[in-house]
């Protein structure tokens, strides 16, 4: 994780330097503020990764001499086909239409969004009937 940490910290540091130079030189607050926030966005995950990279064993994807066998085992649980992204997307579409055509659109929006969130959470918990995720 060291390379990732360095990348993010480098970006955070760049934005901090650029931001300070800009803010002190121009006194313009909007840009100064946005650059500081950007620096924060680099430091937050960057420092997290740095902290972790000092404490974890090298992952197979970080080792130059790793063989494919080293990465054997469960990678992750990937949700297969799922109707919930579409449902949630349509709910958000209704929110957008509510912004334009009237608040009554918020009703189907809320319905679709709540339904989709419930469905997605239950789907994550329940898992695929035949897979290990559901055997608990």
């Amino acid at each position: 994780m060291k390379a990732e940490a360095r990348l993010l910290l480098f970006l955070g540091l760049s934005f901090l330097v650029i931001g300070l130079v800009y803010w002190l030189w121009s006194g313009e607050n909007a840009g100064g503020m946005m650059l500081m926030a950007s620096a924060g966005l680099g430091f937050l995950p960057g420092s997290y990764y740095l902290w972790w990279s000092n404490r974890m064993r090298l992952r197979a994807s970080d080792r130059a001499d790793a063989s494919i066998a080293d990465g054997a085992g469960v990678i992750e649980t990937f949700p297969g086909s799922s109707i919930w992204p579409f449902t949630l997307g349509m709910g958000c579409f209704c929110v957008a239409l509510a912004l334009v055509f009237g608040t009554w659109f918020a009703l189907p929006a809320a319905g679709l969004i709540v339904w989709a969130l419930l469905g997605a959470v239950i789907e994550s918990r329940r898992g695929d009937p035949g897979s290990a995720a559901s055997h608990h």
Binding site: L7, S14, E28, G31, G71, A72, L99
Partner: protein, 574 residues
């Protein structure tokens, strides 16, 4: 229905079992037909949906452009009314930038290719990925709905400057649809940014260290980070604009104590990283394509990576070069930052040359598009340097000089996108695109693009402003506009060739095989198209070109032209 993905070590340590085997072990009902599309979380399906949708937006926006060009063939033309013209250029720009170039690059191509290039079975968050697509599609439909409401679509330019975009000067549903559409596509992009970063950080195959990833993937990583930095800013600005329009706030109005120029700061703080979000994926495509069709490794791989990161870092500090003529920004700061950002871009161009140098260059359609991209981008980039100098910007800003500059750049990106389609199309679909039609498409596009853009530079220097439905009665201006219109129509013809090629190739079905180009990066190791979850087997990954190493054990990369040593051979073929 979730699936567990596991890797198994086979006899020679290289077997990677996909869940096809698991599927055989238990029964479940695979969705079919349209329900399969609505519920797919496969990054290849989602990416293909994005690609096709964005190309449809390209064609619609291109038709709007042709209408603009017809109107401008003569001053005082009444092909469209002035009001319609203002809607035309607003929607042309909005469709192209918000709904075509970005989604094509990070939603379409990156979605399909990045997991393949790093040996991952899918994106890190497949359902979030699917949501990104549905938000993008909804956003596109919302934007297009503007054509069907009373008052028509938004007409304040793709940048929507305040106070023109508030409810006093731009009332109606069209502008609100524009805002709502961009809220949807903004979140779509943010979720894709999350997915790209998480996938690259966490799902790389064993041995695929950060500095062995293909340049396209590196560029997409920086793009992902830029998306996370920039898009929330635009979203916040749009919410503020909506509040000004509907909730009586005074953020961007003078009355009530607001600051109109604040909109420009917020918009361009997103807007400039956005153009690099648009450009970097295409730089990545060009790099991979040029390396493959020169039969050489990427020249200066590390420098390329550092140049991309530098572009990303600098791109957040240049936004007000779009605001030089406001009179209220710190000119020298933005000038030096904007001039500096030319340096890493130049490094990339020289590295592309270095990649071709001493190689065996095959001028396939993909390669022609990539070289056309480099040449056209060179022109656009050079004119950008002028714009980085405030005194020179003062008299070119908001004229056709700027229009020509960004069209040079963007049309170059489109060429690189076509290079990507011709290069990776066979991998994704399993079929080759016709090379001859591809070359005709390239030459017509390249000629048309430059035929449009060169007169426009001249028009800008002669004083023709942008966003104008008519211009002064000057025969020279009319002639130049007519040449530009001709160029635009030649590009339209090029697009017809593209559509014909896609249809013809789909009908002809020439199988591509795993690696029709003898390409170098990991995605060429798997089948065309790749199986569900991408890889039946993975080769050992010992460099940034694992497929090449596997296929050419006797041709390792040489450093500084030194002859191969036994250690070099051992390192590569382990």
């Amino acid at each position: 229905m979730t699936e567990l993905i596991e890797r198994h070590a086979g006899g020679d340590g290289t077997v990677f079992e996909s869940d096809e085997v698991h599927h055989a072990a238990h029964e479940h009902h695979e969705p079919t037909g349209i329900y399969k599309w609505l519920t797919s979380t496969d990054h290849k399906v989602i990416g293909l949906s994005y690609t096709i949708t964005s190309l449809v937006m390209f064609v619609i926006a291109g038709a709007l452009a042709e209408m603009i060009r017809i109107q401008l063939t003569s001053p005082n033309s009444s092909f469209v009314s002035i009001a319609q013209f203002n809607q035309l250029f607003t929607m042309h720009g909005s469709l192209m930038i918000y709904l075509f170039v970005g989604p094509f690059a990070f939603g379409g191509l990156a979605n399909i290719i990045v997991p393949l290039q790093i040996g991952a079975p899918d994106m890190a968050f497949p359902r979030l990925n699917a949501l990104s697509y549905w938000l993008y599609l909804s956003g596109s439909l919302t934007m297009l709905l503007g054509f069907f409401v009373a008052g028509g679509p938004a007409d304040f330019g793709w940048v929507g400057y305040a106070p023109l975009s508030n409810s006093v000067y731009s009332p109606g549903a069209g502008p609100d649809l524009w805002i709502a559409a961009l809220l949807l596509t903004g979140f779509s992009a943010i979720f894709t940014g999350v997915n790209i970063c998480a996938t690259i950080f966490y799902l790389r195959a064993p041995g695929m260290t950060m500095f062995r990833m293909p340049i396209f993937t590196w560029n997409m990583l920086v793009v992902g980070i830029l998306i996370l930095l920039a898009f929330p800013v635009l979203t916040a600005g749009l919410v503020m604009l909506y509040c000004d329009r509907h909730f009586g706030t005074h953020i961007f109005t003078v009355h009530g104590g607001g600051v109109p120029v604040l909109w420009q700061h917020i918009f361009w703080f997103w807007g400039h990283p956005e153009v690099y979000i648009l450009a970097l994926p295409f730089f990545g495509i060009a790099t991979d394509v040029i390396a493959t069709f020169s039969r050489k490794p990427v020249f200066g791989y590390r420098t390329m990576v550092f140049a991309t990161i530098t572009i990303g870092a600098l791109s957040l500090g240049v936004w007000a070069h779009h605001m030089f003529t406001t009179g209220v920004v710190l000119l020298p700061f933005f000038s030096i930052m904007s001039l500096l950002i030319a340096v890493p871009t130049g490094i990339k161009i020289f590295n592309w040359v270095g990649t071709m140098w001493g190689g065996r260059v095959r001028l396939t359609a993909a390669m022609l598009f990539a070289i056309g991209f480099v040449i056209t981008f060179l022109l656009g980039g050079l004119t950008g340097i002028y714009l980085a100098s405030p005194p020179l910007d003062f008299f070119t800003h908001d004229t056709y000089f700027v229009v020509a500059h960004f069209h040079s750049v963007v049309l170059a990106l489109v060429m690189a996108g076509m290079a990507g389609i011709y290069y990776w199309g066979p991998k994704v679909t399993g079929y080759m695109l016709n090379e001859r039609l591809g070359k005709v498409q390239f030459w017509t596009f390249f000629i048309g693009a430059n035929l449009m853009v060169l007169p426009q530079y001249w028009l800008g220097l002669l004083g023709m402003p942008r966003r104008v439905a008519t211009y002064i009665h000057d025969p020279q201006w009319q002639d130049l506009n007519r040449w530009a219109t001709a160029g635009a129509f030649v590009m339209g013809i090029s697009t017809i060739f593209f559509v014909v090629n896609v249809a013809y190739s789909w009908w002809k079905r020439v199988p591509a095989g795993d690696n029709p180009w003898d390409a170098q990066t990991l995605e060429w190791f798997t089948t065309s198209p790749p199986p569900h979850h991408n890889y039946y087997a993975l080769p050992p990954i010992r460099s940034e070109r694992p497929t090449w190493d596997y296929n050419h054990p006797g041709a390792p990369a040489l450093v500084h032209g030194h002859h191969e040593t036994p250690e070099d051979a051992e390192l590569v073929t382990t």
